[in-house]
């Protein structure tokens, strides 16, 4: 298991050092600094073995987190734990920065003591951690409160405490998708997928039982066969269902139930959390098409023309559009003309950045640029990195639709209808690249 955990600043100075196992000595702290943080080379692997000691590291801004072990640990678990540790810290004190870490070092030690015991990850749900790791001490707790804490920390529903009350029962559902594309210069889709997340903010009283439904092809096909139910009949007629390649769920979702009935039922954590992640690859709506044209004029000049076309309902508006056209390293000057938005050559980033605030569906826009090159004797050809795009659209490129989210709380007197529900779809660009 994990033998120790160190946090370093960008210089390699130790901010936090917690050793769980006897086989990890203080010299491990230095070994990592010398061999990884101070290494001249780019990081070639997130897992390194230095003198028979294994280091797993992740970086958050300029902070290094390293877990150390001498055993054959579950590597996936170690990384999951490091990410979790970052989440927990972030939810306690915000951004993970050197200053924040120093300001909260006592808290961090307390957390490390609680969520990692002898190197074994324990309950790491911030919801329940916050009930007893407070930095204010836990004076004044009654016996009932104490045992409630412990049973929650160790219990089956570790993510939610009893006795939550809201005057207004409300929930917000965000379908956040990132659409990824790799397209050839000729416009052929080399790979495209959507990775989506359903993020919920729930403010519900008691221990509500929730059921979430979407236009998952498998369910709809099933319902279609077995006599269309009232609700399904309304929502599926004419509307498309989508094929989900794979999905993963928050630990609150009953996986065995999903496995057998493909229904998503759960008792939600309080506040904000990610209910599920999913991935689709079929019938993706690609919101933009990029058509590049690059022409080399002699050895010292490049002509670039890029057309973007929006491909969604004209009534919808895409926002925060940005097209990034890479330029060679030996660029000496650039002249740009664009029909819409603003374009600028950024020498430090070796790219022309073209920004458009808004763009409606089924429109087209164009940029052309002349790039002057310095003559070089560098034999190596310019690698021609792909043209990348960023944008945000108010729909789900996968075609996913939320069909329902039902809330049942039998003990309290509110019903599904009393809950105010909000649903929002946001599609963002992930890695959206067109080769040129």
């Amino acid at each position: 298991m994990i033998g120790g955990l160190f946090i370093y600043n960008h210089k390699g100075e130790v901010l936090i050092s917690r050793v769980y196992r006897d086989d990890i000595g203080r010299n491990a702290v230095d070994a990592f600094r010398v061999n990884v943080i101070h290494a001249r080379q780019q990081v070639r692997s997130p897992v390194t073995n230095i003198a028979r000691t294994n280091f797993f590291h992740v970086k958050r801004s300029n902070i290094w987190l390293a877990a150390v072990t001498k055993q054959n640990v579950n590597a996936a678990m170690v990384f999951e734990f490091l990410y979790k540790m970052c989440d927990v810290m972030a939810s306690y004190f915000g951004k993970i920065s050197e200053e924040n870490i120093k300001n909260n070092f006592v808290l961090i030690y307390e957390l490390l003591d609680e969520i990692l015991d002898f190197g074994y990850p324990q309950n790491s749900e911030t919801g329940s951690l916050k009930t007893f790791i407070t930095q204010q001490g836990i004076k004044g707790q009654t016996k009932e409160e104490q045992s409630q804490i412990t049973s929650q920390v160790t219990g089956q529903i570790g993510w939610r405490r009893e006795g939550i009350k809201y005057r207004r029962n409300e929930l917000f559902l965000d379908v956040l998708e990132s659409v990824n594309l790799l397209m050839s210069p000729q416009g052929q889709v080399l790979s495209a997928h959507v990775s989506g997340r359903v993020v919920m903010k729930s403010y519900l009283s008691g221990m509500p039982e929730c059921k979430f439904g979407m236009n998952d092809k498998i369910i709809i096909d099933k319902a279609g066969k077995g006599g269309v139910t009232n609700e399904a009949g309304k929502s599926t007629s004419g509307k498309q269902s989508i094929a989900i390649d794979d999905c993963t769920f928050n630990q609150c979702v009953r996986l065995s139930k999903f496995d057998s009935e493909r229904s998503i039922s759960f008792i939600p954590p309080d506040g904000e959390y990610e209910l599920m992640r999913y991935r689709t690859t079929k019938d993706i709506i690609l919101p933009f098409r990029v058509i590049p044209l690059v022409r080399e004029v002699g050895r010292t000049k490049l002509e670039v023309k890029v057309v973007i076309k929006s491909n969604f309902k004209p009534s919808l508006l895409a926002q925060k559009i940005e097209v990034r056209i890479p330029t060679p390293l030996n660029t000496s000057g650039v002249q740009v003309i664009c029909m819409k938005g603003k374009a600028k050559y950024k020498a430090s980033e070796n790219a022309i950045v073209w920004k458009i605030k808004r763009m409606a569906g089924m429109k087209e826009s164009q940029i052309s640029a002349e790039i002057e090159l310095l003559p070089t004797n560098d034999k190596k050809k310019w690698a021609r990195p792909p043209i990348s795009m960023n944008f945000e659209v108010p729909f789900a490129p996968s075609g996913l639709k939320v069909r329902y989210l039902k809330v049942f709380e039998s003990k309290l007197n509110y019903s599904d209808h009393d809950v105010i529900k909000w649903v929002r779809y946001i599609g963002r660009s992930g890695i959206y690249e067109t080769r040129c």
Binding site: N54, N72, A76, Q122, S124, T154, G155, L182, L255
Partner: protein, 965 residues
């Protein structure tokens, strides 16, 4: 400490009171000041002081001098302060063991506290204080906490048992904590169960044979129930533990798989990977024609792909594991090529791994896409990545014949870029393409030759030299080219030197007239001026070959090369199986068994995939499991050790990985790689060498004879007769019964043993053939005999040095002594044998021909014979008939002598030959015989006289066996 000082300044500006100020204590008199503050009456001040101490501790300052003062702060009801003091204690207790005792009382008291959080905190911290004296005090509180009413305390106590075990294993056993821990597996709280499982698994790891976890269907059921309820981390502990279980049959295996599959949808990648591990392992046991089997295969792909949308570090772990999974079961991901396409912004470690998997998944169906991608990659920035991409193009050419042409033209395009490392890499792979498709792409040689001067890496130089040598007849100035390399011969790396030597010899054989000088030059460089033994030896071999028999030399050096394999860098199957059992762990990331990087006893246990059970219709031979589907590597193609193995075409016995497990080696010819030199005509040469070396003395008696698996092939081949003939040094070989199967694989979990007995140069040998027909590797062989009639016992250990891979066979010969314990058996020559390996102990019995026991000095003096014959009562005489034996008496006599049955006298009476013979058994018993052979009658009569008449039957059987063979 620089930042600490900086902060000191910051503090003066910032009005915020934050913890960072504790890092800013002034250096002078620091300890003294802290001491005063720690002993202050004010609680707040105390707490502040402790915080400062911890801050100093973090940055590596020694504050152990404050030990007593800090410990004094321990008795407080302020939990935060208490935790800080505990943190300090954990750090320094070991260096101050005597003072650590001071803390014990507080711990013991805290373990009784009304607040479960404090009880747990105390027991948790106590376990982290690694001081022997404290551990004694820990036992009682721990015992209570293990049975605490609060689950939070119990789950903490469970881990504490593992901590204590790490400090003092004996104590834990003596105190019975292990049993309590086992009981916790049935606890009502899932987190307690998970922690108990984790603790037990860890303890079990350091006692490989303890059977601590005692997994059985009932306990497995409990674990599966807890799996649904516990935290994500607990699920990982449980799944990892489940993976160590071996279900009894395919039905149990299926039902576990069914209950584990829902975990594949968990958001935590580690849960998913651990579930994949369990499924990959248990799938081994499912019959392939089962519907569920194919359902399961389909279910595995999506979660594996989803892992690739995780953070890059996890992607890396996932990719390393997918690399293993693709090798084991290529069918799972064969349609998912696209997800492995490299993204421009992927970290380099992800890119390289994706590329690896792309090559593995490349097939005719997707080759066009793959090639287009690879071409893109070859223009990227990162040198390693570009090299690998170029290499991948070459691999595609070799793997998918239809694409070869396009690959070659792509490679030529890349060579035109003149980017140095791209050119070199391309040349290395083109060499392999030439090997795979001879006489097809030689037209590109001219282009390659243009780049000769830019090659500065040994591998590329060697590849180019190989090409020049191989196609010397088509390259007009081949001699000039090679000569140019020769100038700096001694500065070249060994790889290049060896290649140059071979290439010039090839050239000479092809164009003998113009190149005689050149070849002499290189031979003398290699043999006289080099101190590299490999180079020298090769030089001498060529030299001798060329000088004695140029025709043979041609046959050898220019022999047709064996095909090169389509797959590269395949992990050796036994290792692969082990790694599959370690999915998700560091071993799977390193692609090394845990024993390679873990110290001490942990992880030394080799894990193996279970064998398919014999239930249902799966009567098929157990080896089917290795190659699962369409493009699965058919029973290990001969693996190309690496791209760089240019020596492949010469003498690469030593270079092929010794553990390569292939199908049972063919009896003739050489198995390893490209043995064009040895395979051709050098048997006799080599044979002489090998025969003389003691390690090979299988047939030479005395030395415990071992034939390492890797030598099977050559020995079985041309050298075989060498042993049979030269070895024994007797007029006629002793009779050796043919090998029969003693222990069928069915009865021994896949281990098949057949064998025979032989007596060679006075030593009794048990000659065994061990065949592994199971799916997993067998190691740790040992043998033992039950007491037997003649006290036969192994004279040495069973020498199976290399692990026996699936489908591997090894021949072992075990020298026997006759000084073991004696017990009369029925039949007399019955021998009960126990063979142990890492899997189990197996028993069988066999019968040895009693002639094994006939000693060499069994020739009696005539006089003595006569006297003895008379002396033995007639009751002890027994008569037998040997039918259908067509030897004359002389032939029979000499044949029998080979088996130490000595003819003392011969008399001929009325056309009937009477042979008088004597035999001495290893235990000193004499047997006297009279054999009557009548000309024209194929029936012999034999009379045996012996003081121990029981042996007569066996001796007679020997006569029959010897005479009839």
């Amino acid at each position: 400490m620089e930042w600490a000082n900086q902060l000191c300044e910051n503090r003066q500006f910032g009005s915020k009171m934050t913890d960072s100020k504790y890092f800013t204590t002034t250096k002078k008199g620091e300890i003294f000041e802290l001491k005063a503050e720690l002993n202050s009456d004010k609680k707040e001040k105390k707490k502040e002081a402790v915080k400062k101490v911890i801050a100093s501790m973090t940055v590596g300052k020694d504050v152990s001098a404050l030990f007593p003062d800090v410990v004094n702060c321990m008795q407080t009801d302020n939990l935060e302060l208490k935790k800080l003091v505990y943190l300090y204690l954990m750090n320094y207790a070991k260096s101050q063991p005597d003072m650590a005792i001071m803390a014990v009382n507080t711990f013991v008291k805290d373990c009784e506290d009304a607040n479960p959080l404090i009880r747990a905190l105390a027991v948790r911290t106590m376990g982290c204080i690694r001081v022997d004296k404290i551990t004694e005090y820990l036992c009682e509180p721990l015992r209570k906490c293990l049975k605490d009413e609060d689950p939070y305390v119990r789950k903490t106590a469970a881990v504490c048992v593992a901590k204590l075990h790490d400090i003092n294993a004996q104590l834990v056993e003596d105190q019975g904590f292990l049993d309590t821990l086992k009981d916790l597996i049935s606890d009502s709280n899932p987190m307690v169960v998970a922690n108990a499982v984790a603790a037990l698994s860890e303890i079990a790891e350091s006692h490989p044979n303890s059977n601590l976890l005692d997994l059985n269907p009932q306990s497995i059921n409990k674990l599966l129930t807890a799996l649904n309820e516990c935290t994500e981390w607990g699920q990982i502990f449980i799944l990892d533990c489940l993976a160590n279980y071996t279900p009894r049959d395919d039905r149990e295996s299926q039902s576990i798989c069914e209950r584990v599959t829902p975990r594949l949808s968990h958001a935590n990648s580690a849960v998913v990977l651990s579930a994949v591990k369990v499924l990959m392992k248990f799938m081994e046991m499912l019959p392939k024609d089962l519907d569920y089997y194919s359902t399961l295969l389909k279910k595995l792909a999506p979660p594996l792909v989803t892992l690739l949308s995780a953070e890059p570090e996890l992607q890396y772990v996932a990719l390393r594991n997918i690399n293993l999974i693709v090798q084991k079961r290529p069918e799972i991901l064969k349609h998912e090529m696209k997800v492995f396409f490299v993204k421009y912004n992927d970290p380099i470690y992800v890119k390289l791994e994706k590329l690896d998997i792309m090559i593995r998944l490349a097939s005719q169906a997707n080759i066009a896409q793959v090639l287009a991608e690879l071409k893109e990659y070859a223009t990227e920035v990162d040198v390693d990545f570009v090299r690998k991409a170029v290499r991948a193009i070459g691999r595609c050419a070799i793997k998918v014949e239809q694409s070869a042409e396009r690959c070659v033209s792509t490679l030529l395009d890349l060579i035109q870029t003149k980017v140095n490392y791209v050119v070199q890499e391309a040349i290395v792979v083109i060499k392999d393409i030439f090997r795979k498709y001879p006489n097809k792409y030689e037209s590109v040689i001219a282009t390659l030759c243009e780049n000769l001067d830019s090659l500065d890496e040994p591998e590329a130089r060697a590849a180019m030299i190989w090409i020049v040598g191989e196609y010397a007849e088509r390259i007009d100035n081949a001699d000039e080219l090679l000569e140019s390399f020769l100038e700096g011969f001694h500065d070249e790396s060994t790889q290049v030197q060896l290649q140059l030597l071979t290439a010039i010899v090839k050239l000479f054989l092809k164009k003998p007239t113009e190149t005689q000088e050149l070849v002499q030059q290189v031979l003398s460089l290699a043999t006289q001026d080099s101190d590299n033994p490999d180079l020298r030896d090769r030089g001498y071999i060529y030299w001798r070959l060329l000088s004695t028999d140029p025709v043979a030399a041609k046959e050898v050096v220019l022999a047709e090369k064996p095909l090169i394999s389509e797959e590269t860098d395949l992990i050796e199957p036994t290792l692969l199986e082990e790694l599959i059992c370690h999915i998700g762990t560091l071993a799977s990331v390193y692609h090394k068994p845990p024993s390679a990087f873990v110290e001490g006893s942990r992880g030394v246990m080799h894990k193996r995939l279970p064998a398919r059970t014999g239930s249902g219709e799966s009567t098929e031979s157990p080896d089917v499991g290795t190659a699962a589907g369409g493009s699965a590597p058919e029973a290990a193609p001969s693996i190309i050790p690496s791209q760089g193995d240019l020596l492949g075409d010469l003498l690469n016995l030593d270079m092929a990985p010794p553990t390569t497990s292939g199908p049972p080696p063919p009896t003739t010819g050489m198995q390893m790689g490209g043995m064009d030199l040895l395979g051709g005509g050098l048997d006799s040469l080599l044979g002489g060498d090998i025969g003389g070396s003691p390690a090979m003395g299988a047939g030479f008696g005395a030395a415990p004879a071992v034939m390492p698996a890797s030598l099977n092939a050559p020995v079985g081949g041309g050298l075989g007769d060498l042993f049979d003939l030269g070895g024994v040094g007797m007029p006629m070989g002793a009779y050796i019964p043919p090998k029969i199967v003693w222990l069928p694989a069915m009865k021994a979990k896949g281990l098949e043993i057949s064998g025979t007995f032989a007596r060679r140069a006075g030593v009794i040998q048990m000659e065994l053939i061990l065949t592994n027909k199971a799916m997993s590797v067998m190691t740790d062989f040992a043998i033992q005999f039950n007491r037997n009639s003649f006290g036969l016992a192994p004279a040495g250990p069973l020498q199976v040095l290399t692990p026996l891979g699936p489908n591997q066979t090894i021949e072992v010969s075990l020298p026997l002594s006759t000084v073991g314990p004696v017990m009369k058996m029925d039949p007399l020559n019955n021998l009960q044998v126990a063979v142990k390996n890492n899997i189990d102990v197996f028993y069988f019995s066999c019968q040895y021909p009693i002639s094994m026991l006939f000693v060499e000095d069994g020739k009696m003096e005539r006089q003595v014979f006569l006297a003895t014959w008379k002396d033995i009562p007639n009751d002890n005489e027994s008569q037998f008939q040997i039918k259908d034996c067509h030897l004359n008496s002389d032939a029979a006599s000499s044949k029998l002598q080979g088996s130490n049955i000595f003819t003392i006298a011969k008399r001929t009476v009325e056309g009937q030959d009477m042979l008088y013979m004597s035999i001495k058994l290893s235990n000193g018993i004499w047997v006297l015989a009279e054999l009557r052979v009548q000309a024209g009658n194929s029936n012999y009569t034999i009379s045996l006289k012996c003081r121990a008449p029981e042996v007569s039957q066996c001796v007679f059987q020997c006569y029959e066996a010897v005479l009839k063979n």
